[in-house]
């Protein structure tokens, strides 16, 4: 018992005799002792604030304090040092109470001897050290709980009361600590989940294992619903069955997952309902995926597999182009190219596909070429029919034109003979009156036939739109030429013709056509002059809105626009009783429109007529 032992002790004792006794006992059992002595509680507290002791021996009746008060004060001041109460009388109840106040032991003065004291001190020191360790560990745990970034709370699985909560959980649930600690775990759940949690807790036995309880719906203070995963751990805390709930807010994760699912679903639906077929091809031509529409286009049944877009499926005339394009595509990342080619469908018929190749080799989730295709067989067929039809029409038109030239020629050949005969006939030598009259009729008819045929040929030549060059034609020059040609007619009619080409001196046109326009419109104006009125013709040009216009205005007899509107520029339309073939307006209309221009007429009966010609620019 007298091993080399050192003890540093504080004895708080107002009775000098008792102190002496205790000190003697200690000296007996310890090799070295260092004993301090305080009489007053206040002095003892000051002493403890400066010094550390292995043990504090406290007498309960002190001059400035006693009983419970002394114990509380000393324990507070002693911190990690064990406190043993020495008391003069045996009071069991008080002893038990003092133990609750973390006193390590109590000794009745009359019963104390060195052995008992030594044993009590040794146990007290040992026990206090363990308690200190536990307290440190508890503090650590508390710290871990409070500062944990994972939301945590502690509840009583019997009463559902929430016992503790950490900062992170308060932040998550958006509560003040005091409010949260008044809640039960039912309060943080929506109505729909309350029954479920009740049943769950009822069924779950209290055990210290870690339990993953799955996913739950919880409410924040503002009523926002969130989805949480909860892991629980049961243990006894302060004598109570407690359950630690570890909260993992998975609202965002779930939403992202649902969004992804939704977007995938939408994408699927798009592909499946698209009128275009989709097909995914590896660089070696292997088909890894094909959409339902794609199957339908190619006539594949649901289970039939298409393995390759290759020499067997693509039309032999197209395969080289397809291979060339495909090779180009796979060597140029993210390029998109479209071509039309023929492939076999399941019935071994060729169909025309319009295929868009999209290089998605760089996209890790695809890593292939995506083909977007539709069946354009119908369109191709129509195109082919249309091309054939156009070819046929062009040929027909060419044939008809040729036919017109041949017909005209064949008609002209004998007609030219008739014309020559008419010219050579010497009427003076004919004596018979009737024969003379008949011959005159023959001559007139021949000339008329010749004129008619020539007019028709002119039209034919306009339609053919040949040879003459389009160039800038001067209005003044053309007028001067035509005026000379028509000189006798103009003089005979006494017509007054005025011109003003200062606004626009010229227009892009063909010389012969321009002469034809002036010739026809001037002779028409004279031919259809108002009876009893000197014909006045004003010809002028304008330039506005980038358009050159040539206007012929006369004071002739005019016509009823309502009646002639649609027929004015038609072939062989005559609106007057004069002898006129009615071809002039048709001819110039053909000539003007052949060069992209237009002609319009305005007329009032008995007042006059205005023709406006608009030339096509550039």
């Amino acid at each position: 018992m007298t091993e080399n032992k050192t003890l540093k002790a504080l004895v708080v004792e107002d009775n000098e005799g008792d102190f002496f006794l205790v000190k003697e006992y200690l000296r007996e059992v310890y090799t070295t002792i260092n004993v301090s002595h305080e009489i007053l509680l206040a002095d003892a507290i000051v002493n403890l604030s400066i010094n550390n002791y292995d043990v504090i021996l406290l007498d309960l009746t002190l001059p400035d304090s006693n009983g419970m008060h002394s114990i509380k004060e000393i324990i507070e001041a002693a911190k990690e040092s064990p406190v043993i109460v020495l008391t003069g009388y045996a009071d069991k109840n008080f002893a038990v109470d003092s133990l609750k106040l973390k006193v390590q032991d109590y000794l009745i003065k009359d019963e104390v001897n060195p052995a008992i004291l030594f044993k009590s001190i040794s146990y007290a020191i040992e026990r206090k050290s363990i308690i200190n360790q536990i307290e440190t560990s508890e503090e650590n745990y508390k710290y871990l709980f409070d500062q944990n970034p994972i939301p945590l709370f502690l509840y009583d699985p019997q009463s559902f009361e929430i016992i503790m909560v950490n900062e992170s959980a308060l932040k998550l649930y958006q509560y003040e600590r005091e409010t949260f600690l008044k809640l039960s775990i039912l309060d943080i759940r929506p109505e729909s989940e309350k029954e479920r949690i009740r049943e769950f807790i009822q069924k779950t036995e209290f055990s210290s294992g870690i339990l993953f309880t799955g996913e739950w719906k919880h409410l924040k203070s503002d009523g926002t619903l969130m989805e949480v995963e909860i892991t629980t751990h049961d243990f006894i805390f302060e004598g109570r069955q407690c359950r630690l709930a570890v909260i993992n807010d998975v609202t965002a994760r779930n939403k992202a997952r649902r969004d992804l699912e939704q977007s995938e679903k939408r994408f699927r639906a798009l592909i499946e309902n698209s009128s275009d077929g989709l097909c995914v091809i590896k660089t070696d031509g292997t088909v890894t995926d094909i959409s339902p529409t794609g199957r339908r286009i190619l006539g594949l049944t649901q289970y039939q597999q298409i393995t390759n877009f290759n020499y067997e499926t693509v039309h032999p005339d197209d395969i080289d182009n397809v291979v060339t394009l495909f090779n180009e595509i796979i060597h140029q990342p993210e390029t998109v190219k479209t071509m039309e080619f023929r492939v076999h469908n399941s019935k071994k018929d060729y169909i025309w596909l319009e295929v868009t190749f999209n290089n998605q080799l760089a996209e890790p989730t695809i890593n292939a070429v995506v083909l977007n295709f539709k069946d354009v067989s119908q369109r191709k067929l129509q195109e082919q029919e249309r091309t054939a039809l156009i070819g046929e029409l062009v040929q027909n038109n060419r044939d008809l034109k040729q036919f017109s030239f041949i017909t005209s020629h064949n008609l002209r050949a004998p007609l030219t003979n008739l014309m020559a005969i008419a010219e050579l006939l010497d009427m003076n030598k004919i004596k018979d009156e009737t024969t003379l009259e008949l011959l005159k009729g023959f001559k007139i008819s021949t000339i008329q036939l010749n004129e008619t045929l020539n007019d028709l040929i002119k039209i034919l030549i306009v339609k053919e739109n040949t040879t003459q060059q389009v160039k800038n034609i001067s209005f003044a020059d053309t007028f001067s030429t035509v005026k000379n040609t028509l000189e006798s007619v103009i003089t005979k009619s006494g017509a007054i013709i005025t011109t003003d080409f200062s606004q626009a001196p010229q227009a892009l046109f063909k010389l012969a056509y321009m002469e034809s326009v002036f010739n026809n419109l001037i002779s028409n104006a004279i031919k259809y002059a108002h009876p009893g009125r000197v014909p006045e013709i004003h010809i002028y040009s304008t330039f506005n809105n980038k358009t050159t216009q040539l206007i012929f205005h006369d004071n002739g007899s005019g016509f009823d626009m309502e009646k002639v509107k649609d027929k004015l520029f038609g072939l062989y339309q005559r609106f007057h009783n004069n002898s006129d073939k009615g071809i002039g307006l048709y001819l110039i209309h053909s000539q003007i429109t052949a060069l992209g221009g237009s002609i319009e007429a305005e007329s009032t009966e008995h007042a006059g007529t205005t023709f406006t010609i608009s030339f096509k620019n550039s």
Partner: protein, 142 residues
């Protein structure tokens, strides 16, 4: 006046009328008429066989285009092929009732054709021909 004129036309009435008009216009002394290009070529072959002083070549040919057996274009090709020596002496005018503008263009582009005139041949038309550079020399004396 041109000494000798040849008319090539499949229409005998046309040939006869040409004859009358040429005479009335005092255009030539003599008229040879043939009904197609082949017959015309035969004429030239015969002339070609004769020694030069005895050859009777026309100074001018009025050539129709649309003819059976050998048409005007074929005649022009064969004539320049076989009788290139005569080309200097024999001038050719296309006299046609064709209204196809392509025929006129083709005639203008043929170096052996001096001009293209439309039927019918008339006295006034012939008088105009007397003035053109290629023929003027024939008529300058009169």
């Amino acid at each position: 006046m041109i000494h000798k004129v040849m008319c090539i036309d499949d229409d005998t009435i046309t040939l006869r009328l040409c004859q009358i008009i040429l005479e009335k216009a005092n255009f030539c002394d003599e008229i040879i008429t043939v009904e197609n290009g082949e017959l015309a070529l035969e004429y030239f072959e015969i002339q070609n066989a004769l020694p030069a002083p005895q050859q009777k070549l026309p100074g001018l040919i009025f050539l129709d285009l649309n003819m059976p057996v050998m048409d005007g274009w074929e005649f022009l090709d064969s004539f320049s092929d076989k009788f290139s020596l005569f080309q200097q002496e024999v001038k050719i005018i296309i006299l046609s009732s064709s209204v196809n503008p392509q025929d006129k263009i083709k005639a203008d582009n043929n170096p052996n054709v001096i001009c293209f005139i439309s039927k019918p041949l008339s006295i006034s038309g012939l008088n105009n021909l007397k003035e053109i550079p290629d023929l003027r020399s024939f008529f300058s004396a009169s």
